[in-house]
C-alpha cells in the first residue's frame, strides 16, 4: 500500500519539490496540495514545506492562514491528522494557532543559512520515533524569522507537557543559550521545534528534507521523515480497521 503524504504548495513555497523528493525516499507517495483547494484528497499526513508563503508579507506565514487549504488542514488536524510544518510551514502553523508560540525576527537580524545540531527531546512521537534517544541530528536552517518566542508560562507548560520536540544544542549536546552561535536565531530555551497538545501537529525550523542523503552532508533528516511516513501508514491501517471491511 502506498502512503500518500500531502505537500502543501503556497505561492512562494520553494521547498515543496525537495520535500516531495525526500518523502518519496522515506517511502511515501507525495501528493501536491494546491493552496486554493480545500480538499486534501484523503492523504495520510500533510507536510507544510519551507519557502515564503504569499511572499511572507505582513508577517511570515500569516496570510497563508486564510487560504482554503489551511482551513482544510485545520479541520484535518482537529480530527487527529498528522501535520508537520518545516521552516515557513512552522511559521504558518504558529500563525494559524495550530502550534503555540511565534517565530520572531532572528536576534542577529540576519538571514541564517547553515547546518545546525538539534536534539530530539521526545523519541516517542509521530515525528521522532525513528530518532535514537538523545541523538543529535545535523541539518540546515535557512530563515530570517526563526527566533522561537512564547511567554514564560507557555514555555513552562510546553516543557512540563513534553511538547518541546527539538532544541538547538552545542558540541556537548547541551541546549544552546540564546547568544550562542549554535542557537542560530536566539530562540528562547533553544527551542527548534514544538508539538500541539494532542501530539499530531508539529513544526520545526531546520530542514529535514535538506538532510536527506549522506551525499548532501547528512541524512539525519530522513529519521524525521521516516518517522512521519511510518506514523501515517500506521494511522491509515488503524483507521481502515476501525471502519470495518
Amino acid at each position: 500500500m502506498s502512503i500518500r503524504v500531502g505537500v502543501v504548495v503556497f505561492p512562494g513555497s520553494n521547498c515543496d519539490a525537495d520535500t516531495a523528493w525526500a518523502l518519496s525516499r522515506a517511502g511515501a507517495e507525495p501528493v501536491e496540495l494546491w493552496h486554493e483547494h480545500a480538499d486534501l484528497g484523503g492523504v495520510a499526513a500533510v507536510v507544510l514545506p519551507g519557502g515564503f508563503a504569499y511572499g511572507d508579507y505582513l508577517r511570515a506565514g500569516v496570510i497563508a492562514r486564510f487560504s482554503p487549504v489551511m482551513r482544510a488542514v485545520a479541520g484535518y488536524a482537529a480530527d487527529g491528522g498528522i501535520v508537520l510544518g518545516i521552516c515557513n510551514g512552522f511559521q504558518v502553523l504558529a500563525e494559524a494557532g495550530l502550534l503555540p508560540g511565534a517565530l520572531l525576527r532572528n536576534r542577529s537580524l540576519r538571514f541564517v543559512c547553515r547546518d545546525v545540531a538539534i536534539r530530539a527531546e521526545r523519541v516517542d512521537t509521530f515525528f521522532t520515533h525513528r530518532v535514537a534517544e538523545r541523538g543529535v541530528l545535523r541539518m540546515p536552517v535557512a530563515h530570517g524569522e526563526g527566533c522561537y518566542y512564547a511567554d514564560e508560562a507557555t514555555l513552562d507548560a510546553l516543557e512540563r507537557d513534553g511538547r518541546v520536540l527539538f532544541r538547538y544544542v552545542d558540541d556537548d549536546g547541551n541546549p544552546a543559550r540564546v547568544e550562542d552561535r549554535e542557537n542560530p536565531n536566539g530562540s528562547l530555551r533553544a527551542i527548534a521545534g514544538v508539538m500541539n497538545a494532542a501530539g499530531n501537529v508539529a513544526g520545526l525550523m531546520p530542514h529535514p528534507e535538506r538532510a536527506a542523503d549522506a551525499l548532501l552532508g547528512s541524512d539525519d533528516g530522513m529519521l524525521v521523515l521516516r518517522s512521519l511516513v511510518e506514523s501515517a501508514a500506521a494511522r491509515v491501517t488503524t483507521m481502515a480497521a476501525g471502519t470495518g471491511r
Binding site: 527566533c147 518566542y149 536566539g186
Partner: protein, 100 residues
C-alpha cells in the same frame, strides 16, 4: 446644497508595535546606530508597522469595528504585538456629485 450622502469612506491607520518586553532586534539595531550619527539621549527605540486603509461603512463606529476586527485577526499577532487605531477622517460621496 442638500446633496444626499450615499457613501462614506472612513480612513484609519493601524499602528502595530512589538509588545513591551518582546525582543525587537530592529529597534535595537537603530539604537546601536545612534552613536555613529553622533546622537545622544535617544533610547527605547521600537520599530513597528503602520497600515493605512479606507473603509466603506454607514458610520464611524461601524468602520472602526471592522478595522478593529482586521487588526486583531490579521494585522497584529496579539501574542507578540500590540496595536492602536488612529482615525484619519472621512470622505463622503454625495449623489450627483461629479467625480474628480
Amino acid at each position: 446644497m442638500n446633496a444626499e450622502i450615499v457613501a462614506t469612506q472612513f480612513r484609519f491607520a493601524v499602528n502595530v508595535l512589538p509588545k513591551e518586553g518582546i525582543l525587537d532586534p530592529q529597534g535595537r539595531a537603530v539604537e546601536q546606530s545612534l552613536p555613529h550619527l553622533g546622537l545622544a539621549g535617544i533610547g527605547q527605540v521600537r520599530v513597528g508597522r503602520r497600515v493605512e486603509l479606507a473603509v466603506d461603512a454607514p458610520d464611524a463606529a461601524a468602520a472602526r469595528g471592522l478595522v478593529d476586527h482586521l487588526a486583531r485577526e490579521l494585522l497584529c499577532n496579539p501574542m507578540i504585538e500590540q496595536y492602536a487605531i488612529e482615525a484619519l477622517g472621512a470622505i463622503s460621496a454625495a449623489r450627483g456629485e461629479v467625480g474628480g
